[in-house]
């Protein structure tokens, strides 16, 4: 209990100090663009606790969830099979490298063009952007499986499908997991940007709209909300990862 409190204090004192600093320094601010944090906080309460959540946050998150849970599993399956075959890798790696060097957000205009400015184009953009980090990580994870484990698989006559999903993928899970995390972060960014480009609702749309109509305090509340959401996602991801990869941390002798 005590150590939990201590951990919380260690990890949060800097944030608290910065907020306090911001609060103090902006308290008497006359600047239109840097309103006092106090005002932002009040407005934040009005905007997001929990008035517009159903309207502006839930749809965004739904798009993210749909995009992520389509893009990432596809990447896992495709990556796992590409990782197995050297020939497939050589054929596809130029393509993969080309597409992954395009920032996810740059894809958004293409999909708006193809699917209109509805949720579909946002979901597709997210799914495609999410695909590549996981794909690259999975290929690498599967490619570099331990030779001893593979000998064991062969000696027990695992089929190549079995050794892929029962040995290569689980043993590469730590690497795949980092890919999944990057994918989540990329997906989050694309979610926001896709709403900034011509959506009527969603957090991104809310934030640019506020900025364009000079409702600077609202804009700030949108930005803070995005920060909080992004932070929460990372925390949740890491909690799940920590559970799922307990064996890896144990094996490495990590304690935290």
């Amino acid at each position: 209990m005590f150590s939990l409190l201590r951990r919380f204090l260690i990890s949060s004192w800097l944030v608290a100090a910065l907020l306090l600093f911001w609060w103090k320094i902006s308290a008497n601010s006359e600047s239109y663009f840097w309103p006092p944090l106090g005002q932002i906080a009040t407005q934040f309460k009005t905007n997001w606790l929990f008035a517009n959540v159903a309207e502006d946050v839930v749809p965004s998150l739904k798009n993210l969830a749909i995009g992520y849970f389509i893009g990432a599993p596809c990447a896992l399956v495709v990556g796992a099979h590409l990782g197995l075959s050297e020939i497939a890798q050589r054929i596809f790696s130029p393509l993969v490298n080309f597409f992954r060097s395009i920032p996810g957000v740059a894809l958004v205009p293409i999909f708006i063009m193809l699917f209109g400015i509805g949720d579909e184009s946002r979901r597709v953009s997210i799914a495609v952007a999410v695909f590549f980090p996981t794909l690259i990580a999975t290929i690498e994870a599967v490619r570099t499986s331990d030779a001893v484990l593979l000998d064991v698989s062969r000696s027990f006559k695992f089929s190549s499908f079995q050794s892929l999903w029962r040995v290569r993928v689980p043993s590469g899970a730590p690497m795949i997991s980092s890919g999944l995390q990057v994918s989540l972060q990329v997906g989050f960014i694309v979610m926001i940007v896709s709403e900034m480009l011509g959506a009527f609702r969603g957090l991104g749309a809310f934030t640019v709209e506020a900025q364009q109509s000079f409702m600077i305090i609202d804009m700030w509340t949108g930005i803070i909300m995005l920060g909080i959401l992004g932070y929460i996602f990372n925390v949740i991801f890491e909690l799940i990862e920590k559970r799922a990869l307990r064996w890896y941390r144990g094996q490495k002798g990590l304690t935290t």
Binding site: V148, F156, F158, R166, S171, W247, G250, Q251
Partner: protein, 262 residues
């Protein structure tokens, strides 16, 4: 507990030759190795480091193809890992799945062979008992000592009910006491199940202590320098057997073969 006595497999090596190709120059490692291992027999394979012991093992387990000659298991040519064969490798830290518990590690090969759940559970439990790991079912390999990890590997091999068990320096990196325990465990397993057992080692004492026969490999490329029968009785005992005068003679004979003197 009763163990269904199985008959071991018969292994025959005929002019087995291996040349590694690729990576620059060819490397001729094994030269016309001939040997017959009778069902239920315990054969040790010794030789200096780098002579080709692991290579020979990989050939006869079907993990690596032979260059010429043939390997017959119960008369059937080995081209890929045979059904009746199980392997215990030297690298115990790398040969278990670190994401699976002891129980799940032993169970995995059975599960992938689609063996029914009840039978799986029974086989896993009896393998765990056989190697003396009871109470560790739900621990992870990395929570166990090296000796215990190697016991898990042996249990996993036994659970698949092999007729031939092949081990590559399985005790090379465990401490002395654990090593003696594991040696006796392997003897017990052979006794309980009657399986043919092959053990690669660079420890001449271990080779003599365990085996009915010792195959000595020397030279580059390696050939069979001698096949030495071990007429020591059973059961073997870590103190008495090793103190027996014949034990010393056999050991000395092998030592001289490996050193190339006589």
């Amino acid at each position: 507990m009763t163990h269904p006595k199985r008959t071991g497999a018969r292994l025959e090596l005929k002019d087995v030759t291996k040349t590694y190709t690729g990576h620059g120059e060819d490397k001729h490692v094994l030269d016309r190795i001939n040997c017959i291992v009778e069902p239920g027999e315990f054969l040790s394979i010794v030789g200096p480091s780098g002579v080709g012991k692991t290579t020979l093992l990989r050939l006869l387990t079907g993990l690596t193809p032979v260059t010429s000659g043939e390997i017959l298991l119960d008369g059937k040519r080995v081209t890929s890992p045979p059904e009746d064969l199980a392997i215990v490798l030297q690298e115990y830290t790398r040969s278990l799945m670190p994401w699976l518990t002891v129980e799940k590690n032993i169970e995995l090969p059975l599960k992938l062979k689609k063996i029914a759940k009840e039978e799986r559970r029974e086989r896993v439990q009896s393998a765990i008992l056989e190697v003396g790991l009871e109470g560790n079912d739900s621990r992870y390999p990395w929570q166990l000592s090296g000796g215990m990890q190697q016991r898990v590997a042996i249990a996993r091999a036994l659970a698949s009910r092999p007729r031939i068990l092949v081990m590559d320096e399985p005790f090379a990196s465990v401490d002395a006491q654990t090593r003696l325990d594991l040696e006796d465990l392997v003897l017990k397993v052979r006794d309980d199940f009657g399986i043919t057992t092959l053990l690669v080692t660079h420890d001449m004492d271990e080779a003599v202590y365990l085996a009915d026969r010792v195959l000595v490999l020397t030279g580059k490329p390696a050939h069979v320098a001698a096949e030495i029968a071990v007429p020591l009785g059973y059961p073997r005992d870590q103190v008495d057997t090793r103190a027996h005068p014949d034990f010393g003679h056999l050991r000395g004979e092998i030592y001289q073969l490996i050193r190339g003197k006589r």
